[in-house]
C-alpha cells in the first residue's frame, strides 16, 4: 500500500463504525422498508386524487410488487422460497402496504379482498379462514360485480384440493349471484357452474345451469358452445342414471 493510500485509510477508519458491515445492513433494511412505504404512499396519493380506475392501477402495482416480494431472491424454487424467513418478511411488508391502502380508501373493496386472500394463504399473516371470511363479508357491500367474482374465486381456489368449506362456498354462491343478477357474465357463468355441480349449498339444477350459461354466452365473451354443451352433457348423464 502506498503512503497516500495508507493515509486515506487512517482518516477513513477514525470513526470506523461507519464501515462496519452489520451496521450498514441495518441501515440498508431501514432504507429498503422506507422506500417501499414511500412507493405505497405515491400510489395511494395517485389513487386518492382520482377515481377508482386509478385504484385499479394501484392494485396492479401492488400486485406486481407482491410478485417482486415473492421472487426477489428468487433463484430458489418457489416452494422453498415461500417458506423462507425472507419471504415472510416481504409478505409482511406487502400486507403493510395493503392495510394502508385499505385505510386510505375505505370505500374501495380491492385491498380488503387482497388482505382476505393473504389470510387464506397465510402470506404475511396467520392463516385464518374465519378472518378471511369476515373481511370478505365486510368488502361485499362495497364490491363491484368484478370484485364479487374475485371474492368468490378466492374461496373456490381455497377449497380446491383442500378441506371443504361449506360456509365459504355458500357466501361465494351469493356473491356470484349478485354479480350475475347485475348482468355480469363471469358471475352468470360461475353461478351456472355451481348449479351444474350442486355447489355452494345449491341443489343440482341443470335447467338453471343452462339458463345462466346461456346468459353468460349472450352477454360475455365466453364461447357459448363449450358451456352449453357441458350443461347438456351433464343433463344427459343424470337422465341416464
Amino acid at each position: 500500500m502506498s503512503p497516500e493510500n495508507s493515509n486515506t485509510e487512517i482518516l477513513l477508519t477514525t470513526r470506523g463504525a461507519l464501515t462496519r458491515p452489520t451496521v450498514s445492513t441495518l441501515a440498508h433494511r431501514g432504507l429498503t422498508d422506507l422506500e417501499r412505504t414511500e412507493e405505497a404512499d405515491r400510489w395511494l396519493e395517485m389513487a386518492s386524487e382520482h377515481s377508482s380506475r386509478d385504484c385499479d392501477a394501484l392494485m396492479a402495482v401492488l400486485d406486481s410488487n407482491k410478485i417482486n416480494f415473492r421472487t426477489k431472491k428468487g433463484r430458489k424454487p418457489l416452494d422453498t422460497w415461500s417458506e423462507s424467513t425472507e419471504h415472510r418478511a416481504n409478505m409482511s411488508a406487502y400486507i403493510d402496504c395493503l392495510l394502508r391502502a385499505a385505510a386510505a380508501k375505505p370505500d374501495y373493496a380491492k385491498p380488503q379482498i387482497e388482505i382476505a386472500a393473504a389470510y387464506l394463504k397465510g402470506w404475511g399473516v396467520e392463516e385464518s379462514r374465519d378472518e378471511a371470511l369476515r373481511l370478505l363479508r365486510a368488502a361485499a357491500s362495497l364490491a363491484t360485480p368484478d370484485d364479487l367474482c374475485e371474492m368468490s374465486h378466492q374461496i373456490e381456489y381455497e377449497v380446491a384440493g383442500s378441506d371443504p368449506w361449506p360456509e365459504g362456498m355458500r357466501e361465494a354462491e351469493t356473491w356470484y349471484r349478485r354479480a350475475a343478477e347485475q348482468g355480469y357474465a363471469t358471475g352468470q357463468f360461475n353461478l351456472g357452474e355451481m348449479y351444474s355441480k350442486g355447489e355452494g349449498g345449491l341443489q343440482k339444477n341443470y335447467e338453471l345451469a343452462k339458463f345462466w350459461f346461456s346468459k353468460a354466452a349472450e352477454g360475455g365473451d365466453f364461447p357459448p358452445t363449450e358451456y352449453a354443451l357441458r350443461a347438456y352433457w351433464d343433463e344427459q348423464q343424470s337422465k341416464s342414471k
Binding site: E4, L11, A17, S24, T25, A27, D33, T85, S92, D96
Partner: protein, 257 residues
C-alpha cells in the same frame, strides 16, 4: 516611503517563493476539505447512533422473534431444512443485536462550535501527513492527524489546543537546507496535497451515496415538513415485532396442547 533595501531574488528563489505561496493556498484548501470530510463523518456517525437506538434495536428485536419462531418450528418439524433455517435466523438475530447495541449506537450528536472548526482547520493544516517532507515525518504526522480527527469527533477543543501547542516546539518547525532541496520538498508537498484533496472528494461522494446518508437526507426532508421520520419507521417495525411475538406465543400455546 523610505528607501528599502530589497534583495534581488535569484530565479530559483523566485520560483521557490511562488511555489510556497501556492503551497500555503493549497494547505488552507486542504484543511477546509478535511474539515468538510470530518464534519460529514461526524454527522453520519451521530445519525447512525440515533438510527440504531431508535430503529435498529427494533430490527434486532424483529430478528430475535423471527429466530425464536424458526427454532420452535425446527423443534416441531425436526427436519434438517428447518434446523438450517433456524440456525440462519439465529445468526442473523445475533448479528443484528450486536450491530444495534454496539459501539456505533453510542455515538451522540456532535455540536461543532465555530471555535472547534477553527481549531480543527488550523491543526489539520499544520500536521497534515501530506505536507510531510520524509517518511519519518509522515509517520509522526499520521499519528498526529489521527489524534486531531479523534479530538474533532468527540468535540474536544482542549485536545486540539494541546496538539497545536506541542507543534511549535517540535523539530518539524526547522526548515531544511539549500534552495534546491527546499524546492524539491515544496513540489513534493504540492503533489501530495493535490492527491489528498482529490481523494477527499471521492470519499465525500462515496459517503454521500451510502444507505445511511440517504436515510439521513430523508429524515432531514421529513423534519422540514414537521415529521419525525425515525419515529414513523420505528412504529412500522414495531407493528411487525408485535405480530411476530403473537405468532410465537400462539405457536408455543399450540405446542403445549
Amino acid at each position: 516611503m523610505p528607501h528599502q533595501i530589497v534583495k534581488k531574488l535569484t530565479p530559483e528563489e523566485e520560483e521557490l517563493a511562488a511555489k510556497r505561496e501556492e503551497l500555503a493556498r493549497l494547505e488552507a484548501q486542504l484543511a477546509d476539505q478535511e474539515l468538510l470530510l470530518a464534519s460529514l463523518k461526524a454527522e453520519l456517525a451521530a445519525f447512525e447512533g440515533l438510527y440504531l437506538r431508535r430503529v435498529g434495536v427494533l430490527y434486532a428485536e424483529l430478528d430475535e422473534w423471527n429466530a425464536r419462531l424458526a427454532e420452535l418450528r425446527a423443534e416441531q418439524a425436526g427436519t434438517p431444512e428447518a434446523k438450517t433455517e433456524a440456525a440462519e435466523a439465529r445468526t442473523q438475530a445475533e448479528e443484528a443485536y450486536s450491530a444495534a447495541h454496539g459501539e456505533a449506537a453510542e455515538v451522540q450528536p456532535l455540536t461543532s462550535s465555530p471555535e472547534l472548526k477553527k481549531l480543527y482547520r488550523e491543526a489539520a493544516k499544520r500536521v497534515h501527513p501530506d505536507t510531510a517532507t520524509d517518511e519519518a515525518d509522515r509517520a509522526r504526522r499520521e499519528r498526529l492527524m489521527k489524534e486531531v480527527n479523534a479530538a474533532y469527533a468527540t468535540g474536544d477543543e482542549d485536545a486540539l489546543r494541546r496538539i497545536l501547542a506541542g507543534l511549535d516546539t517540535s523539530p518539524d518547525a526547522v526548515q531544511g537546507s539549500g534552495i534546491g532541496a527546499d524546492l524539491i520538498r515544496v513540489l513534493r508537498q504540492l503533489k501530495q496535497i493535490r492527491d489528498r484533496i482529490a481523494a477527499i472528494e471521492l470519499e465525500v461522494t462515496r459517503l454521500s451515496e451510502t444507505d445511511l446518508a440517504h436515510l439521513k437526507a430523508k429524515a432531514e426532508a421529513a423534519a422540514n415538513e414537521g415529521r419525525d421520520l425515525l419515529a414513523e419507521m420505528a412504529s412500522r417495525v414495531e407493528v411487525r415485532v408485535n405480530a411476530l411475538r403473537e405468532k410465537v406465543d400462539a405457536t408455543l400455546e399450540e405446542a403445549r396442547k
